[in-house]
Every structure is written in structure tokens, then in C-alpha cells.
Symmetry: C4
């Protein structure tokens, strides 16, 4: 991930100690889309749980609960009926992922902004970004420096028109400065930029990740690390690297559902090195 | 698959490159049957996703959505209430599979014809074929040369009465000419014919495929390759071969649900050869 | 299974040939219990599919369909609203399993009797037996010699009071004669008796099978073999042996859900011997 | 688990014998939370089934049944509409787990107390403990010496305020005396105390268990052993040790859903030693 070839975020990965209990290990919320669009939240939630968040809760519109319920066990579920109720439900969270399959509409904007004023760090992905295409300041003014935006190039162009013409790295740096949050510009060589000027380019990307739902998994992984109080810039770098590492080990035929189940092997290798 | 023993479609398999993203990799739609008949669509969709379509969306009658929802994650879901709504939902697709568990009725005919006039290549299977038993021209006039029909012998006889008496290969050639589409005549030695006269006979067939749902998986695999812009004749040949290869490696006790999960190993072997 | 130690049913196992298609391979129906009691039918159906029935269809009360739907793919589903509708739905079946989680009541009696007058061979298990405790002739008069009853000792005592006092083998012989059907008296050494006097005692029993749902799996396995036109006495012997073999290979911690997935290995070993 | 390093509960583990049938092997009930909170019960039930209870039944509020139904097969399901109905449904059980995701409210108190007056041994966990924070005697007076309480430190403090100041071991001893039941005080070194003064400290704890749902799995494991008529103190010690052993073998990335599937390997190793 840097010149030495060794990921320098490795030493700040959050491993549980003997005294760690599930609450202390970090609480992650994941906001689900409507009843027909719940798979993205389940992917993100499972990824967040696998990467070490001690408690993961899907926050969903009430009519989505019967769809999600049969498909989860260790993940918890809370329906919410309004942005205020969402913010209240997110009150006890360390981090929240919002945006996957959320819909590009006013409700998504309201939900993102309601969450931004809780104490939880946000990971804003997908529709959570595009919903602010015509009102980017409505997003940026709500963000803190520990929040993370995870656009692919299309989403990036909508939020930061013209910026990519300067190149991906300068674009990410400037976007992070404007947003006041960590920006993960996804692509073959994902760029991660922090508002304080830190910049990293991921070097283990793989084409096998070009399949639906892998972005949801990545958002859940970042959220899961941030929930464990890892620095958001390091969390984003670590998650991007592990996400690609999990995919590379699988190769052709990979689908997003495979990724969370491959995290234990990736984590175990890192844990042994941390030895 | 041909005289040399090496599949000559191997060089045209679509592998993602460093710059490939999920939309570019191909978008596949799969039309589900009614609420009690959704398993076929899920098998086809998962197969299409495994074989490399970047985005796969099940298009379903509204009352089927709560049944499908809990069983999918990376696969997306759009309910439709009319043939027009189906065609609109399929607007952004590169290929659409229609027919598995669709029902032999007017709605299926309307759905197939509505889809035929979108830009998506069609894979018409099962009930999507039988529904035109008494009006084959209603199907044929709607087809393009990149569309694919996948009848077993019973379905073939209904659409092309008398043709099989000339033998399977001449029958497939003539059927393809009449339909103006690729025809996959399934059986122990599946015959694939294109309207331009190309003809191939698959040689790795296996009796373990004689179990419910394997045809749905095959339709999804063909659709998944066509969605990646592989030539439809080559896509059909490649899918038929890989489908049988996945089954042969399993042997006795195979059920259709096993097949999508075995595609990664089949793909990996082909990818290494493509080296 | 007999003196030589080699199962003499081995040579009559139904293996598909090059020309076999799914319909020819055998069609199995499984009758589900009510909406809260559908798991037994799903276990039986999956076992029947794994053991080689080409088509397996669960027949269920209408309100059970939304529960079963999300959990099946290659297995088909038909709701029925009356014994007459059930018999009609079973019309195309080669064999039907009835009884698991069916309920001990008049509807179960009506369903069993309606099925008995279709052309399908019956496997009557669990509540399908107990429901006739006070009217055994209502069951026996409806049975044919290719039907199979699969009682454990408690169910056996209810249908054949007093018979077990003579010992398990004579009891099974007499029960089979009275019922006019194959009787599988389950236990540590399962006894299988046919109305023509054939008798076998299974010798690979294992205590790990003493867990909920294993009887449902066995009923599905017998049904799956009978659907493939294996002689019912041989089918029962073969299924009982394979069922135990699958369990023995697993050992402690076995649950019924494990069994269908272990059948491929058991079948493969038999297939190789059949060489 | 004791000075010799060999678990002295090993010899009292319940293994099925040739004559054991599923009813004799032990019947376990697990009380589910409301419709959005059913995952905990499913985890506990599956764990109880894996560890050897012959029959496991989830007892659930009526509106939770459609959520649980699609996710279970060998596990049975009975809806209940009142504490009286719950007690009646639990009538045939050897042990019942109550508390996971139950809600901290009067209904939970009523359910626990209704169950306490059936013949089933209770495992009271999570909300089943916290619900009695302001009325601990309402819980204690209902308990028998074969019942088990499984608090983590937070739950322990609510039921036994001040007791932990004396240290974990004396606190557990005194709590067990007051409650008149076995107390499992969870933590890095879980303490197990019986009302007759027996005391044990588990020594194979692992931080990987600090993830949501592992407590539900443990409750189900204890319940599964108690249902098999293992002494409750020994059952608690055995379950705590096996639970940690299953987790240690997995390592980083463990989630609660992994644990039941790892029990067969843990059980097999113990079974071989039991030789």
C-alpha cells in the first residue's frame, strides 16, 4: 500500500483483547433501502460484523423488516419511520453506513443529514452521495473529519463536477478538503484522501471486484473498522486493501456474497503478522 | 467441442480488465414467475452473476417480491405490473432471460414480445417457448439474430412440429433459420445453431444434469455471457460446455443449486488456459 | 445388509443414462404441513432431489406457500386447498411422501386417502400414520403393494397394537401383510418387510440419527428412489442403508439438515462400485 | 478447566446409545423475541440441536412465526399468545432457554415466571435477567437448583448490585446461593457457581467471542446439554468450554453464526477421548 510494500495501517488494526466485550468492540449501524432493496444493507452489515464490529444493527423502513428478518441472526434489526427516529436509533452507534440501495430522493438526503448530527461516524456510499448531486453543500456541511465518502467515478463527478480533469489523486485531495471528510475514490487504483492532506493509493486492486454489491461490502468493512475506533483514513485504506485481497484469492466467478466469508482468512494472515 | 478437442469459443470469453466496472461488464435481467414459482429465476440470476454479468436484476410480478427479497443480496429486484413496465425496467439491460417458470399463457407471450422490442438480447427458455406453441410466428417475428432459444426436445417439437424427424442437427439449423435466432436444442449432445448457418454439437454432456432447474441455470449462464457482449452463438456453446463441466465434476447427487457455486472452478481453469 | 455384507439392492439402484431427462428420471411430490410446520417437507423434498428424483414438488396448504417459497429453488411448489385438489396436483407424480408434520387430524386422513387413489406410490410417515390410529383399515384399504409405511415403534404400536410383543421382525412381517404395503419399522436395527414376505434387517444403524427431522429425510429418500421406479422394498432398504451411512460419516453433532448434502458422497461410492 | 488440565465434566457428557431415540435424547424449547428480534432464538436453537438435544422447538409470538418459518427445517415452531400458552407449550420440554432478544418488560417477566413453574429446567439469559432488575426476588423465588442464569457483568450488576466488588468468584458463589440456581458469570474467565457451593473458572476463553449473538449460542448449548439430563453445573461448564474451543479454532473474523457449525468438530474430539 506504500513504497515498502507493507501496509502501514497494519499496526493500527483493532484486535480485541482479553477484556474486550461486544459493546466495547464497536457498534455499527447500516441503513437499509426499501423492502425490495434490502440486500445491499445485509451485505454491508455482514461485512462489518466479520471485520470486527461487536454489534451490528440494520436500521430499516418498517415494511422492509419482514424481508430482512429471516435472513439475519447475529445482526440486529430496528425499523424506523422518520429521519428523527433513524437518528434516535443510531444514537448508540459508533459508526453508521448509509446510502447503499437507499434511493436517490429527498428521504435519503434527510436520513443522511439526520445521521450526521448524531455522534456516529458516517460512511456515505452510493445513493447517499448521488442524492446530493444538486445540493452538495447540504452533504458537506453535515460531515465531520471522521466521516467517509466512498464514490466511484460516476458518483464522484456528480458531487465534484470537473474535479477529475486534474487527475484522480489531486481530485480526491481537493474533494476531501471541500467535503471535510475522508474520500475514497474507487477504481482500479483506489485513491484515499483525508482532509488533513494525507493521501494513499491502493495497489492490490483486482478486476474481479467489478460485480454488483462489492461496493456495499466495502462500505460495511470501512464502517466496521471505524466503529472499532480506527482512524477513518487508516480504516478506509485497510478496508480497501483487505477487500481486494479477499477478491484476489477467489478469482474468476467471484460475487459479492463471497467476500464477507473470505475476510477471516485475510484477517488471520494480518493477525499473525501482527503477532 | 470441435474436432481439435479444444473449445474454440475459449478465446472470446469475456474477462474483466483493470478498467472494467460493473456496468461495463454487462447487465442481465431475469424475469421471474409468479409468487409460488420464483426459484427458477433465482437460479438463473445467480448463474448469470457467477459467470460474470456485472449487474443482475430479477424482474418480478409485484406479489413475488416478498418471496424473492429475503433470498438475494447482490442480485437486485424490480417489480413490474404490466408488459410495458417490464419493457421499461429492461431498458437498461444488455440481455434478459425470460421463460423459466413463467407460465404457459398470454401474459408470458406479452412479456416476451414486449422484451423483444427493447435493446436487450433475449434468452427465451421453457414456458417462454411453449407459450408460443400455437403462434410461433408471434415469437419469431420478434426475435433478432443475437437472441437465443433454449428448447429441450419437447419444447422444440411444439415450436417446430415435424422438424426433428430430419435429425437433431438439421432440425436445429432449420429452426434457427426460421426463428432468426440462435437455437440451443438441449439433450445428451446439445446442438447449437445460428441463423448464419454456424452449427456446433456439444461433446461433454452428462446424465447428472437430468434434474430440475438445470435448464434455468443454463439460461442464466447464456444470458450472463451475452450480457457481456459475447457473440450469442459462442456464448451458447461456451455456456453449454461449462454447464456440463460443472456437473461432471460433481457426479451423483447433483442438484441444480450446486451448479452456480461450481462455476468459479470451471472459470478459473479456463482463465488459466487463457493465460 | 444381508449375510454377505454387500447390499444386494446395489444392482437395482437407478442411475441416469445418456438419454435420461428429468421427467423420465422420476417425479416426487411431498405434502407439507401448515404454515408453521413446513421444515419437514423441505427436508424430505431436498433428500428426494439429492437421491435422484428428476422433479420434486412440494404440495402445500395455501398459507404455507410464502414460508416455503424463499427457501427453495430447484424444488417446485403447488398450493392446494382440498384433498381433491391435492390428488389432482399429485396426478403427474410417480411417488408422494405424506405425513411429516401433517398434523394428527381428519384432514391428514383425507389427504392420505385422496392420494392413495392416484397413480403415485405413497410413502406414509409420521402423522400420516398416527392419524389412522383409530381407523387403521381406513389406511390399509387404500394402500397398494408399492406403497411404503415408515413407522418408528411408537407409531407402529398405534397402528398395529400388540404386534410388537412377538418381536420386531415378526411384527413387521405381519404388519406388512395386514397393510398390504412395505413396512419400514425404524429403530437401532431397522426392519423392512414386504407383503410378499420379503424381510430385511438393516445393519449399519447409528445413534447419531436420533435427532429431529432425520425421519423426514428418510421418507424423502425412499420416495425419491420409488419415484425412479425402484422396487419399493429395495428402495426402502437402500434408503435406510444410505441414510445411516451418511450419518455415520458425520458423527457427533449431526443434525438432519446435514444429511441431504452428504448423499452425493454416499451415492458416488455406490456408483463407483456399480462401475 | 481444573488443575489437571482435563475437563472433569468430560465423563458426564451425554452420548446417545444404540437404543436412544430423539425424544429420549432430550427436548429443548427456545423462546423467541418479537418479529424483528428472532435471530437470537434461531442461534440458540441451532446450537442446542447441534449439541445433541433430540428435539428443539422455538416458541414464538404469533407474528414472529412467518419470519422464523423460512429459516428452520429440523427445528420445530409453536406460536404462543400468552404466558399460560407458553407454559403449556413448554410442558413437554426438558429444558427451555428464555431471555435472548426477549425485551426488558413485563411480558418477559411473566414468561419467565410461567416457565419456571413447568417441569422444564430453565436457562435464563440476557433480557430475561435484566427484566428483573427491579424485582430480583420475582426471579429467584421461581428458580430451582437445576436452572441456570447466564449474566455478563452488566446483567449481573443489575440483578446482584454491589456483589462484584468482592471479586468475580465470591460474587458468583453468593449470587448462586441467593438465586438458588447455577450462575454463569461470563467474561474473559467465565465463573460457574452452583447453589451447593461448587465453583469453576473456565480457562480457555478467547477474545474472538466478543461479537453479537455468541451469548445466545452459549445459552442454547447449555440448554441443549441440560435437556439431555446432564447436571446443570456440569452442563454449564462443558458448554462454556466447548463454546470457547469452537471460537478459538476459528480465530479472527468469527461471527456467532459460525459457532453451531463448529460444534461437531469439538464434539468429535471429546467423543474420541471418551473412547
Amino acid at each position: 500500500m506504500n513504497q515498502s510494500g507493507l501496509p502501514d495501517w497494519r499496526d493500527s488494526l483493532p484486535w480485541p483483547g482479553a477484556e474486550t466485550h461486544k459493546h466495547a468492540r464497536g457498534r455499527l449501524g447500516v441503513v437499509s433501502g426499501k423492502a425490495t432493496q434490502t440486500g445491499a444493507a445485509r451485505l454491508a452489515a455482514r461485512a462489518g460484523l466479520r471485520i470486527g464490529a461487536g454489534l451490528v444493527r440494520i436500521l430499516c423502513p418498517p415494511d422492509a423488516a419482514p424481508v430482512i428478518g429471516p435472513a439475519i441472526e447475529g445482526i440486529m434489526l430496528t425499523p424506523f419511520g422518520s429521519p428523527e427516529a433513524l437518528a434516535e436509533a443510531a444514537g448508540g452507534m459508533d459508526a453508521v453506513v448509509v446510502g447503499p440501495a437507499a434511493g436517490v430522493n429527498e428521504m435519503t438526503r434527510d436520513n443522511v443529514r439526520a445521521l450526521a448530527f448524531t455522534g456516529a461516524a458516517l460512511v456515505v456510499d452510493a445513493d447517499g452521495l448521488t442524492a446530493f448531486e444538486h445540493w452538495p453543500e447540504g452533504l458537506f456541511e453535515a460531515l465531520d473529519r471522521d466521516d467517509v465518502l466512498t464514490p466511484h467515478e460516476g458518483e464522484f463527478r456528480r458531487l465534484f463536477p470537473g474535479l477529475l480533469e486534474a487527475g484522480r489523486q489531486p481530485a480526491a485531495v481537493e474533494a476531501s478538503r471541500r467535503a471535510g471528510a475522508v474520500v475514497v475514490l474507487k477504481g482500479p487504483a483506489t485513491v484515499i484522501a483525508a482532509p488533513d492532506g494525507r493521501l494513499a493509493v491502493n495497489d492490490n486492486g483486482t478486476p474481479w471486484l467489478a460485480t454488483a454489491g462489492t461496493g456495499d461490502v466495502l462500505a460495511g468493512m470501512i464502517g466496521g473498522l471505524v466503529a472499532q475506533r480506527m482512524d477513518s483514513f487508516d480504516a478506509a485504506r485497510a478496508a480497501v486493501w483487505m477487500h481486494a485481497e479477499a477478491a484476489r484469492g477467489f478469482g474468476p466467478g467471484l460475487i459479492a456474497e463471497d467476500l464477507p466469508g473470505r475476510l477471516p482468512a485475510v484477517l488471520a494472515a494480518l493477525y499473525e503478522q501482527a503477532g
